[in-house]
Symmetry: C2
Subunit: 182 residues, 2 copies
């Protein structure tokens, strides 16, 4: 059981889903390819932490919908009580930004504008996710606070990613402005 295994278990525990769905869901906080996810799902199943049902779809291939078992929930709870490792960031943009003194100013501006576009796209994706979550929330029925319990985590995390994306955009604008006034 590595961190990704727990992460997949954690995601499935909120709402049963397929491996394909997990790729999309994980994307926000843990980069993982399908070639990593499918084998782990197999292992989780052989360990008895998840099970799956094959679901037929119209005009789409069948999918395996995974759900967490009682023993899966047990290991999830144990993991959550253990120390949490620090976030790992690997950002090639930052490495390039580091030595902009090697660039022409035009190239630096291009690098920053590309970054800006990336985060604008990301923000749009996040807002779309937020809307989907709102609809799901309504479908499941709201509790006192307006958020059904199992969607509280995703709600908090989406808000966080939106704040982060907005901060990144602000920083891009600040940097571009700073270059302009040099």
């Amino acid at each position: 059981m590595n961190t990704l295994s727990y992460g997949l278990l954690s995601a499935i525990s909120i709402e049963s889903c397929s491996g394909y769905d997990l790729i999309e869901r994980m994307k926000l906080f843990w980069k993982a390819d399908h070639s990593q996810i499918y084998p782990i799902l197999g292992k989780l199943e052989s360990q008895g932490y998840v099970r799956h049902e094959s679901v037929k779809q119209v005009n789409k291939p069948d999918k395996k919908v995974y759900f967490v078992t009682d023993s899966g929930i047990e290991v999830l709870k144990k993991w959550m009580a253990e120390p949490t490792s620090e976030p790992v960031i690997r950002d090639e943009f930052a490495l390039k930004m580091h030595s902009i003194s090697m660039f022409d100013e035009e190239q630096t501006i291009a690098l920053l504008k590309e970054r800006r576009a990336l985060y604008e796209q990301r923000l749009a994706d996040l807002e779309a996710r937020n809307e989907r979550l709102r609809l799901k929330r309504e479908a499941y029925g709201e509790d006192d606070s307006g958020i059904p319990t199992q969607f509280l985590g995703p709600f908090f995390l989406l808000e966080r990613e939106i704040l982060n994306a907005k901060t990144e955009l602000k920083w891009c604008d600040w940097a571009l402005e700073h270059l302009g006034t040099r």
Copy 2:
């Protein structure tokens, strides 16, 4: 030549330094252990992109100070013109936050407070780095805009990390407040 190799080259190009120094410098945007850095420095040297001088120190072990060669600068410039890959984030905290519905509220609060403490520490580190950079800037002499060219990248990036840390702290407070009012 992988991304980290270019990253090290990029960092050395701003200011010659040892492998040990690079560990500290890289930390902000690209997690890398010394066991990864030292062998790469050897490869960069055998390829002729960097060279080193052994420097004796008082009450400290000798160190190898690396500097970039002309051919190193050439490959750096080529890399900078190539497409930039998207940032990779792997954050165990987010995976746990995802399924807080499995937690007691107390555990969730503890998780958030731990995160808050981490980023408060990080912000303090960043402010300290900022002060060190300011002193270095003065030592090297300032240009028209107040930032010597080679430190413009680090200056921009530090500002970005400070904004990010402050945003994370704001989010932690918001989440804790939200839990309190449920």
